[in-house]
Every structure is written in C-alpha cells, then in structure tokens.
Point group: C2
Chain length 252, copies 2
DNA sequence: CATTATAATTAGTCTTGCCTAAGTATTTAC
DNA sequence: GTAAATACTTAGGCAAGACTAATTATAATG
C-alpha cells in the first residue's frame, strides 16, 4: 500500500499532458511531456515512476507510455475540470482565451466536484434561459469595458422585451425549430431536444450526458461525417454517425 | 536577498489566519494560528519565521505577532480573493455556505487578478441588471434542483416582462428611490448612486472602491452608529459616521 | 557497423512544508 | 513563590517536486 489513490496538482498536470499527447500523436515519450510542461527530463522520469506506482500509467524505462483504465478516467476528469472552468471564463466572464486557459489549469486542481457540476449547469442555464443568453452577456461585456453601470440599459431591456414576447408568442420553451445534430457546423452550439430510439448506441449517448435540455457544442466532423466530436457538460465525446442520427436539437 | 516577495499557498493561508485573528482578538499568538489551520505548533513557528524573512510580519520568539505594512496589504488581498470567490459561489451558483467557503479557500491561491476583478463585476452585474437579479438566479436554482430544463420558464418570463416594463415606465435605470447608507440594515445590499462632497473623508471612501454604480453590503453597525462595516468589491471596509453620511444609495 | 547525436535514466542536491520528540519559556495554581 | 500545566521553540526526519551533472540506452548517419 505504498501508493496513494489521489493525485497531487503536479501529477494531475502530468496526466493531463499525457492524455493530450495521446490524443494527437498516439505515442507518448518523456520528451513530449517535458516540452509541454517545461520541466527537465529528470522531473518527468520521477513523475512517471510515481504515476506508475499509483497504477495510473503503464511504464517501463525506455518504453512507450500508455494510460491504464483508471489512469484514463483520472486524466479525463482533470481535462473536464479544466474545460469547464475555461468555458465559464471565456463564455460567461469574457476573459481572453489564453488567460482563461492559464487560470483554468491552475484552478482545476482545487475545485471540488459539486462546484464543477454547478459551473456546468450555470453555463448551460445562461446559454438556454430566454432571459439570459447572448444579449445579456453582451450587456455584461459592455459594463466591463466601460467600468461603471451600463448606459445602454434601456436598449438592452427593450431588446429583452421583444425577445421575451417572441418567446411567449411561440408558446414558451416548448415549440422551436428542430434540426439534426449532423446539420451543425463546427463551433455551433445546440440544445438537445430529443434522443430517439432505445438502441445500445442511444443508451451510451444518454449515459454520456447527451440528455434532453443539455447544451452541446460541435467540435469537428471527420471527412466522411464519421465520427463527430462534440463537447457536452465539459466532456469531450466522439459519436459515430448512427449515434448522432437520432438526436434532435435546437440550434442556439 | 534570501527572501522571495511572493507567498506560497500555504503561507497565504497563514497570513489569512493572522489577519482574521487580529480582527477578532487584537493579539495573535501561535496557539490561535495552530488551532485555526489545524497544524502543529512546530509548523506555525516555521511559517512565522518564513513570513518574518519575507517582511510580512513582525516576529520575535515568544512575542506577540503583528502584520507589517506590506503584510497587511498581502493579507487583505488573500482575504479579498477568498471573499470574492465565496460570494460568487453562494450568491450566483447557490452553493452551500460551508462548501463555498471551503472551495474558496483552496482556489483563492491560484486565481489571477484579472479573474478576481471579473468575478466582482459579474456578481455586481447579476445583482443590478434588471434582466438578471433575484428572479433570474431563482430560475437557475430551480433548474439545479430539478435537473433538466426548467418547467416554470413561462412564469419566469412573464415575471421578467412585468419587471422590465415597470423598469422602463420608471424611466430606465435613471430614476429610483434613493436612501442614505446609514438607513440600511445589516445584511442588506445597495447600489451606490452618489458620493457627495469632496472632503478628505470622501476621497478615502472613493479610493476604497465605493464609487457610483458599485454594490455594497452592510455587514454591521456599532452600537452608536459608528463605525459602519461594509463589504465592497470583495473588500471589507470600516466607515466612520461622517464618511457614510454623504453616500446616497439605492437599496436592492 | 562504428561513431556520433539525442533521449532517458540515475544519482545527488535543494526548498517547502508538514510531522514527532525533546527542551525551554511563560502562565496558572496552590 | 514554588510546582505543575501550558505554550512555544528547536532539532531532526520525511515526502514531494523541482533542479544539475553524470551515465546509459537508443536513434541517426556516413
Ligand atoms: Mn489543465
Ligand atoms: Mn493544471
Ligand atoms: Mn481563504
Ligand atoms: Mn486558502
């Protein structure tokens, strides 16, 4: 029982780095990790040994590095915390991408689970609530740039009035134009309306958090439309064509 | 030049503890710090030496501990980061007080200045913007409790309509009932409308961040109405009666 | 294939920050 | 005013996590 089951902030960063390198290069060597984290080779070797002790990676000297089952889960969890924080900083607080990324990677290690979930829900809420949304965040940005209470408050409110009226005329949040997930372009966001079918594929999709009401963002589509990379509740997810087929969405 | 000018997370926590103990007991002894941070006496002694090296505290063995000029500034800065984060977690995300406090005290050490400022502005925005505010946050809480998109969306929107109409009828954000700061009850929040006069006292107040548009919360009033403790932009501030006199506010 | 260049590991050092145990100072109690 | 209790410091140890320097393994090159 020499190994503890929780990772330190430093080791989490190593896991994160390994995860990302695997995602883009398939093979991981100490060199890549050292470059990415800006530490010496010696430090990497030390960290790798420590991670191997904790059963997070498969590591024998001079060999390729892979993640274990538990290691992959741990890495994904760190990445998620990073993404969730960054998302909030960029989408809601309007912080510059690089700053957000930096801050997220430092704060990701100390944020508890309850808060991660709240952040996810909050971003989702801001993006879907007819009282919040795009215009509302713009109002906040305006206030940030001009320090002091916003001058365009009236304009903002009348816009809100129009939008809210339109929303109610359409019958609340119930009726809206539905699209297929595959019709989205990379970068676009949508709200899930329905996940049709009850196949094994659909079950997996639902388990992953693609449930009615959740907001997902299309990250990229492979040349032939398969697979489709999306982000949902801070998780990256790769869907096969048939899995994406049965998902009805509303483009935001 | 044996001492560095930046504090580690651990030392920041010691500074925070010292600051709070001073605020409530006037004198600081290692015992108090050890109890508060749940560390051994030996650890406290070590930290105190380190902080003295860095010119943050005045410390000689067996003597009372006080903050230096720079130490007080550093301590206030940590406390502010803590408060700002906690405020957001409680007021906007609706996290339980103890959880929020815990998370804040772990994350406070890694949040950069730009983000702290953004958090302050965002909470202020949510609390003052007629499109945001109380009802809007309640909508979020509802969504949190019931996981899934909110059912009371229509009700929320019609409330919004009413509020926004009322707001416009009153002539936008311009005209509203003004009160004096001293009329507030502890716990109440208000938005600063005007800081009258240009005396030395007023200058100090403005410098501290009590500027038109900012949101302040009354923490407590001493028996004779002097001094008045308030919280503004994450800072705690103690105002004398004459300083509070010239501040016009709108109760939120 | 031998040589050189690069990558990786090992060995050893340093700092931070915690601990326990032991010794010293101060306070409290009688 | 001495004895006992409590508070505080010192000494020494340990783990994490970085580093440099030296050594060894692998890859590249002619
Ligand atoms: Mn990260
Ligand atoms: Mn990180
Ligand atoms: Mn704190
Ligand atoms: Mn802290």
């Amino acid at each position: 029982m020499t190994a503890s089951e929780t990772l330190t902030a430093s080791l989490e960063d190593y896991m994160e780095a390994i995860f990302h390198i695997i995602a883009e290069k398939h093979a991981v060597k100490p060199r890549d990790i050292a470059r990415r984290l800006k530490v010496s080779y010696a430090s990497v070797t030390g960290a790798l040994r420590s991670l191997a002790d904790k059963k997070m990676i498969n590591y024998t000297p001079y060999d390729l590095i892979t993640l274990t089952e538990t290691g992959e889960a741990a890495a994904k969890d760190v990445v998620r915390r990073h993404e969730v924080l960054k998302d909030f900083f960029v989408e809601v607080l309007g912080v510059r991408d690089a700053d957000a990324d930096n801050a997220a990677c430092r704060m990701e290690h100390s944020i508890p689970k309850v808060l991660v979930d709240r952040f996810v829900k909050f971003v989702e809420f801001v993006e879907t609530c007819p009282r919040g949304g795009d215009k509302w965040i713009k109002g906040f940005m305006y206030q940030c740039d001009n320090k002091g209470p916003q001058e365009n408050c009236e304009k903002c409110i009348s816009t809100c009035l129009d939008e809210v009226r339109g929303h109610m005329r359409r019958g609340g949040a119930k009726t809206m134009e539905t699209s297929k997930l595959k019709d989205l372009k990379p970068g676009q966001k949508c709200k899930v309306l329905k996940v049709r079918g009850r196949s094994e594929a659909n079950r997996r999709v639902l388990e992953m958090g693609v449930t009615p009401g959740s907001v997902i963002e299309l990250e990229r589509v492979a040349p032939l439309g398969d697979p489709i990379d999306i982000k949902v509740k801070g998780y990256h997810l790769s869907l096969r064509k048939d899995e994406a087929e049965g998902i009805d969405v509303e483009i935001i």
